[in-house]
Symmetry: none
Subunit: 141 residues, 3 copies
Amino acid sequence: LEAAVNPPAVHINYNNFPAKLWRLINNPQNDSVFWSPDGESVIVDQQRFEDELLSPLKQDAKLFKTTNFTSFIRQLNLYGFRKVCDRSFKDRRRNLHHFHNPVFRQGRPELLVHMKRLTISNKAKMEAGEQVTCRHILKVT
Amino acid sequence: LEAAVNPPAVHINYNNFPAKLWRLINNPQNDSVFWSPDGESVIVDQQRFEDELLSPLKQDAKLFKTTNFTSFIRQLNLYGFRKVCDRSFKDRRRNLHHFHNPVFRQGRPELLVHMKRLTISNKAKMEAGEQVTCRHILKVT
Amino acid sequence: LEAAVNPPAVHINYNNFPAKLWRLINNPQNDSVFWSPDGESVIVDQQRFEDELLSPLKQDAKLFKTTNFTSFIRQLNLYGFRKVCDRSFKDRRRNLHHFHNPVFRQGRPELLVHMKRLTISNKAKMEAGEQVTCRHILKVT
DNA sequence: AGCGTTCTAGAATATTCGAAG
DNA sequence: CCTTCGAATATTCTAGAACGC
């Protein structure tokens, strides 16, 4: 309860995928990634995302090195996002992708520390009950 | 605007990495490190860099203690440079590395004071909104 | 040798992927899929392919049911195509994909009957030396 | 049962980072 | 702060799996 009132400061690594996605979705300037109405999942407008964030013409301030939308999808899956098939978000002209991750929720940055990168070796470790090191979480002694 | 015309004198520690890189890239004698055409990023010719700056044969005027190119790359990353994969700079014969840092730009020495050495503790402090002291910046106010 | 002079009539199923790709690449009207200069591999211009063949706006004459380029790539891989990384075909503005399959070559339609759909079960059969049935090949003896 | 489509994951390589000296 | 090394992350290409036809 106390934790809810005074949430511990969360420090996630600025350059890693979870932090980038968190900044993007909470950035009012950005209109290619946004929260679903219930704040429980992520919606990505593929065309805008490609135009504004992946275009090779905008080399400088690029958040991602890739120019392929599929690489972004691979990252989402690696960090535990699963696609939600929601008819109400279908749009004939726009390609809207709807992804859910239980530890990526609007207004809950403290959950981000539970993100795991689901590589084979990490999954094996988790199976065996071992610790998984996650570099996106800053250890602030 | 005034700053652009009369940039304030910049004082960064002569022997630290940012200053060394700044001197190198602006030294017409040097041909292993140079600005990209738009002045927004750094291009390094690995062969020349190794031959002219890292070779143990040139003990005298050696700028760096290391003889490994990878250590130089580690420094670039530590100071916030990220590799840019730009197809147009590919050269079959030369190994050209293209790195970008928003505060390392041609003709903008005043930006150098914003360079941060991205150690874990510095990153955590920055996440928490605290000041980060950098020894490479000489305070001469 | 005689076969090269008088190649046996080849009949592949009109609606299956190999036939569709063959028609596309040999159709002068189409400019999104074409042969590499040596006729040994396939080059796909992603933007044009999406615009002209996958766009949901062109419902009528659509060759494929999908609107996703990735589904097309999945088909290429399923039929044994592998990506070729050829620098000389890089284009900053266009996304050109270069795929190779030893049995898909310009002017050699008779090779198409050797195309296999590499599903798990087909691969297992081939490992065991069994026949693989391919519905895209019309048996017209 | 085979094919097309979709979503997710495996595998390989390139890049970046943490930690120790 | 610099250097080194090993490990985590990012990116790319290919494949597994599930489903509908």
